[in-house]
């Protein structure tokens, strides 16, 4: 199979660096160029010494590398629409970060552009390629638990805002400045926008869809932020399954400009745990554990050293397969739309103080 000529664009997303090893090692890819959003992003990119040239102008990148077939959009949420348009107009396949946009009119235009251009647009929801999630899905599908009754899930992390400031900007993260609730000085665009995974997983694991949701914010742990960092959501799926989600930035961090060892203050900086109750049994699941542990340099704090973390391998494999064999990715724009709608419903519920229908 001819390797896919691939590029990256933006280089400001928290997941940017996670692609480097996979793009270099996967024989099915030829990583030819990158294009940073600005000088600062280019400087950080160059710290990783990938050997892949980095541009500041997408047109310039394409003129130097006219054979680019696909682009990873590793950028702030507010940039996604224009970047998708840029790709669609040129017939370039897209791997988008986890939030294409929260603006549903814009979202529908994205679907239209992608379908008209007949290109692959895969959304990066890497949990689908996690071996623990694969086992979880298999166990649930086996029927051992019977009909599912309830799901509780955490998707809790440190806050990436100090390294990726756009994640603390209501406009860059949510797309516009919308107050969280009357009398609340904060705006949409914080932890919720960073954590779509559990909203997506429950649909995948149950085969059902959201019905209603109620969400509430808590006082922020980081007073300086103008977006939410602590919240919870509870609701029901159409099949009656009750859920409770914690998508907070509840793990504190050192305020590093570039992620590096010692970033975490709490030992485990990222957790996706699920508790699933069925009519015939129950599962508890830690998607990122067990690991190895230390209390060494740089801060002598007890720290989880993530040990099994290769989701990007499977994600890229699927992307290449879809491009070469003209397939629809599992997480495509149409599938993902309901997840984004539920996240928007959480914000509506926070604003109204009432349950929101999804």
């Amino acid at each position: 199979m001819k390797p896919v000529k691939i590029a990256m664009m933006g280089m400001t997303h928290g997941h940017t660096r996670k692609y480097y090893q996979t793009l270099i090692e996967n024989q099915k890819l030829d990583w030819v160029a990158s294009c940073a959003a600005d000088e600062a992003a280019k400087e950080v990119y160059e710290l990783y010494k990938t050997g892949v040239p980095c541009y500041l102008d997408p047109e310039k990148m394409l003129s130097e590398h006219p054979d680019i077939e696909a682009i990873v959009l590793a950028s702030a949420n507010e940039k996604h629409f224009e970047e998708m348009k840029f790709c669609a107009e040129r017939g370039i396949h897209i791997l988008s970060m986890k939030i294409p946009t929260f603006d549903m009119a814009e979202y529908d235009k994205m679907i239209e552009m992608v379908e008209k251009a007949d290109i692959v647009c895969q959304i990066e929801l890497e949990m689908h390629y996690n071996p623990v999630v694969k086992r979880l899905q298999q166990e649930i599908a086996s029927g051992k638990l019977g009909k599912l009754l309830a799901v509780q899930a955490t998707n809790i992390t440190l806050s990436p805002v100090w390294a990726f400031p756009w994640q603390g900007s209501p406009e860059a993260s949510y797309g516009k400045r919308v107050p969280l609730a009357p009398g609340d000085k904060r705006f949409r665009g914080g932890a919720l926008c960073d954590h779509p995974h559990i909203f997506d997983l429950i649909r995948w694991l149950t085969g059902s869809d959201f019905d209603t949701v109620f969400a509430q914010v808590a006082p922020n742990l980081r007073r300086e932020l103008e977006v939410e960092d602590m919240l919870m959501a509870a609701g029901k799926l159409k099949d009656g399954t009750a859920f409770l989600f914690d998508p907070s930035w509840s793990r504190l961090e050192e305020r590093l400009k570039v992620p590096a060892p010692g970033w975490e203050v709490f030992p485990k900086r990222m957790e996706v745990n699920l508790t699933i109750t069925g009519e015939k049994g129950m599962i508890q699941c830690d998607c990122f554990g067990p690991n190895v542990y230390h209390n060494g340099a740089p801060n002598d704090r007890y720290t989880v050293q993530y040990t099994y973390f290769d989701e990007w391998v499977g994600l890229i494999d699927e992307f290449v397969d879809c491009i070469r064999n003209h397939k629809q990715p599992k997480i495509n724009l149409r599938w993902h739309k309901r997840t984004i709608e539920c996240m928007n419903a959480c914000y509506e519920s926070i604003q109204s103080g009432k349950t929101a229908r999804v």
Binding site: Q27, Y129, P131, R135, C285, C287, H294, G296, A297, G314
Partner: protein, 236 residues
């Protein structure tokens, strides 16, 4: 078992474009048979991810000035001397230094305890036993103690390995720990054998290194038996 592992190896070889080789049973464990007729002993623990991470923690100076390795390995059946030799080889791999001296006490073939000194001055203790009931999962622990920091594959305040998934049904408790998406479905011990074979194919210089390490491991096993029978430390 070999057929299934070789199918997985073929998948990786095809995906990453690496040369031919086949996993075959050997006298002391699995080996990689190469087209030129040579056979390379496989050391799966050297590619097992928890040990790769522990080595990174040492080599990357997250721990500074390692003093002592405290290792334990308990299984349902097997050979306690071979288990001990493997644990010593792992310590030597993590330390980047061979075992220079060891003292062992054995209780027949069921259990053995070892104190070892590595050539770079680091110390190691190894506890091994084979008396877990049939069907029980292996229990092990690897702790590395340094002037700056302690690292371990077991989390603080626990005695037994943790799992990723705990499932309670009418049939009781079942646990799962899946570690490799590309080789999903293979048991974990077989995953590391396939990964070891793949590592040698991708990095041919490992062949000589692992052959030498396997010979050292054999010497460690002989020394464990001799030290116990003489009730004296043995120099290597």
């Amino acid at each position: 078992m070999c057929e299934k592992m070789n199918r997985s190896l073929a998948f990786l070889r095809d995906k990453y474009g690496c040369p031919a080789g086949e996993i075959v049973p050997g006298n002391e464990g699995f080996e990689l048979a190469l087209p030129d007729g040579s056979r390379i002993p496989l050391l799966p623990w050297r590619v097992e991810r928890r040990f790769v991470e522990l080595k990174k923690i040492i080599d990357g100076k997250t721990l500074e000035d390692v003093s002592t390795f405290r290792f334990a390995s308990f299984t349902a059946g097997g050979d306690s001397v071979k288990s001990a030799a493997r644990e010593l080889e792992l310590a030597s791999f993590l330390a980047g230094s061979p075992v220079k001296q060891l003292f062992s006490v054995r209780s027949g073939d069921a259990a053995c305890n070892i104190l070892a000194r590595l050539a770079n001055g680091m110390s190691a203790s190894v506890e091994c036993g084979v008396k877990l009931p049939a069907g029980a999962d292996p229990m092990d622990r690897h702790e590395i103690i340094a002037r700056r920091g302690v690292a371990s594959d077991r989390t603080v305040d626990t005695q037994v390995p943790q799992s990723s998934i705990y499932e309670w049904t009418g049939s009781g408790l079942q646990t799962f720990t899946d570690v490799d998406t590309e080789l999903f479905g293979l048991p974990n011990d077989q995953i590391w054998i396939v990964r070891a074979a793949f590592a040698v194919l991708m990095k041919p210089e490992l062949a000589a290194e692992w052959t030498k390490a396997a010979a050292s491991m054999k010497r460690y096993a002989d020394a464990v038996v001799r030290s116990d029978s003489e009730n004296q430390p043995v120099q290597l």
